[in-house]
Symmetry: C2
Subunit: 347 residues, 2 copies
């Protein structure tokens, strides 16, 4: 890909919860889009979506969809990414993939721009977007790791249903109405009622008793922070919240920390807004994080015993920083790295 004024962009899974946000973010950030292809499965063909005031028709994803496309942002699940990302790459298109399919593959950069933009490398084929619950965690961990060396993280998540897509949002809505009306509930997306309940179950269970979601938080953190020695002990929980994930972290470091110093450090670190004024009952909340690109951090307090441990409360919009916004940030990072082709410079 050479430097140009504008780029042809494709969004794969354009009609999904994340796909729609990607289109919004491209518009809001004034991304230099020449042509925007909205790709989805055959059953979405006929739908139109708005981009910069223009209606764009959704086209069926096909093998030839990536001809002339510079960057394709995939958000249509692992099966589609597995099949079509290599096809896109064949067409000289750079893929930014939001699924879990390529994240842990050696040689595939797993990027959170504020954290490890240097891992992007020089040859771009597939670039993976991490899991939502990992992204907001590593944005907080990075400055602490750089300054105090993190040894261990115990994390409990409070994840919203939008992470499971549009149908889960509708399920929480319908079940909530049913409970309030004294009716029985029906569960399709989740194995049990999510309305007014907590489910310690995100993605499927593995042999070791952890969920895939929990193991993603371990493995992806290791890859992004380039340190497999960091112990991560996760519990991932779905809560009856529509948008934004919250996380409670207990972090142990090699060097001792002071809460006020950590607060100061996080305040001046990229992609973070510290919301921590207890006198005014100010702390990060899911409903306030919606629509924000930053990761909100509060309840910053030293462990009651260990001088090298600290507790944090971290909230972020899982569809934005956890998905669409991070993906577009990666695309922006690519553009910054591009140079005009030598043929032009020679003129």
């Amino acid at each position: 890909m050479n430097k140009k004024d504008k780029y042809n962009i494709a969004v794969v899974g354009a009609t999904g919860a994340v796909g729609r946000r990607i289109i919004d973010v491209l518009e809001e950030r004034g991304f230099p889009v020449a042509n925007l292809s909205l790709l989805a499965s055959a059953r979405s063909v006929g739908e139109t979506l708005l981009f910069r005031g223009q209606k764009i028709g959704v086209k069926e994803l096909r093998k030839d969809s990536f001809e002339e496309v510079d960057i394709a942002l995939f958000s249509a699940g692992s099966t589609i990414s597995k099949q079509y990302a290599p096809i896109a790459v064949e067409s000289n298109c750079v893929v930014i993939d939001n699924s879990s399919e390529w994240r842990m593959i050696k040689g595939v950069p797993l990027i959170v721009p504020e954290v490890n933009s240097s891992a992007l490398g020089e040859k771009w084929e597939i670039i993976a977007n991490p899991n939502c619950s990992t992204i907001q965690m590593v944005v907080a961990l990075k400055p602490i790791h750089d300054n105090y060396r993190i040894r261990r993280v115990v994390v409990s998540t409070y994840q919203s249903v939008s992470g499971s897509g549009q149908k889960a949002i509708e399920e929480l809505e319908q079940q909530s109405r049913d409970v309030l009306d004294g009716k029985s509930t029906r569960s399709n997306v989740y194995p049990h009622q999510i309305a007014f309940n907590c489910l310690p179950h995100i993605d499927s269970f593995l042999e070791n008793g952890y969920t895939k979601e929990e193991i993603k938080m371990v493995n992806e953190t290791h890859k992004i922070l380039e340190d497999n020695t960091i112990e991560v002990s996760p519990t991932a929980v779905r809560v009856p919240v529509f948008y934004s994930h919250s996380e409670a972290l207990n972090i142990e470091t090699e060097l001792p920390m002071r809460a006020d110093k950590i607060k100061e450090l996080l305040s001046r670190s990229p992609g973070i807004s510290v919301v921590d004024n207890l006198k005014n009952n100010e702390y990060p909340q899911a409903v306030n994080a919606c629509g924000k690109g930053d990761v909100l951090i509060g309840r910053i307090r030293g462990d009651l015993v260990r001088r090298n441990a600290i507790n944090l409360w971290i909230v972020s919009d899982n569809l934005l920083k956890g998905a669409a916004y991070n993906a577009v940030q990666i695309a922006e990072l690519l553009l910054k790295r591009l140079t005009f082709p030598l043929s032009i410079l020679d003129k």
Copy 2:
């Protein structure tokens, strides 16, 4: 108090969420009640509550309310407990107090019957019922501490609104309807919207950045397990759930643990139901814990790195085991310890 066939019981705060549960539990467990006094503030006088099919009128709490009463179960907040518990004791009435007022006072037993019934002592005046989030945690910790010696607990809670009383239940209900109907919400009980949101804020904030609720979990655990060296690092969070609290625990011990052994140990420990069958998506859930006296434990899995650490998911009905049921259990414990007066035995 001498052994009798039946006892005069008073419930202070009878019309509150916990008070009503106490009356239910006394009935369900066939507690040997002679006379039941339902006491509350003047504005509840005139209300009647059902006990064993009989309507009982609520009376105003007064200084002379405890004459002839053997056991008074208090659940009307710290101010009432502070003022009236000593008055009840003066009348030779044993007080079982559900407020935080007396819990940490030296000489006042803080009792979870399955855990530390031996701490009850011989002279009974005020006996304190621990905080709801502490009770369910220590029921799980006790057998592990006895067998493996607990060094550290990192706990994140997912606490239901019923812990804040009836008005909070109504606030979650009203706010949920308002959000679903696209209306703006109003908050009175909580400083922010609780519907479809998480608030890392239970009880008030202290100078050290922790909430009172969090510090209760530390101090009460130390007192109940009689071991101040156990490190407890808590984050207490209110979630939009009506009844039952959930907790994610990471526990470190002196001796190495195996998940299957811990599962077996917890299965045969008192007051615990292990719910942990991942193949059938079975794990503890708030909506399933309601109405149950047991503490439900699941997601039992060894830490990914440390052989002396384990993760648990613990759920219990905060109004029952967390309050009313534990209080009645304490009363039952008293009766078991009673002996007939020597004057009778001499005959």
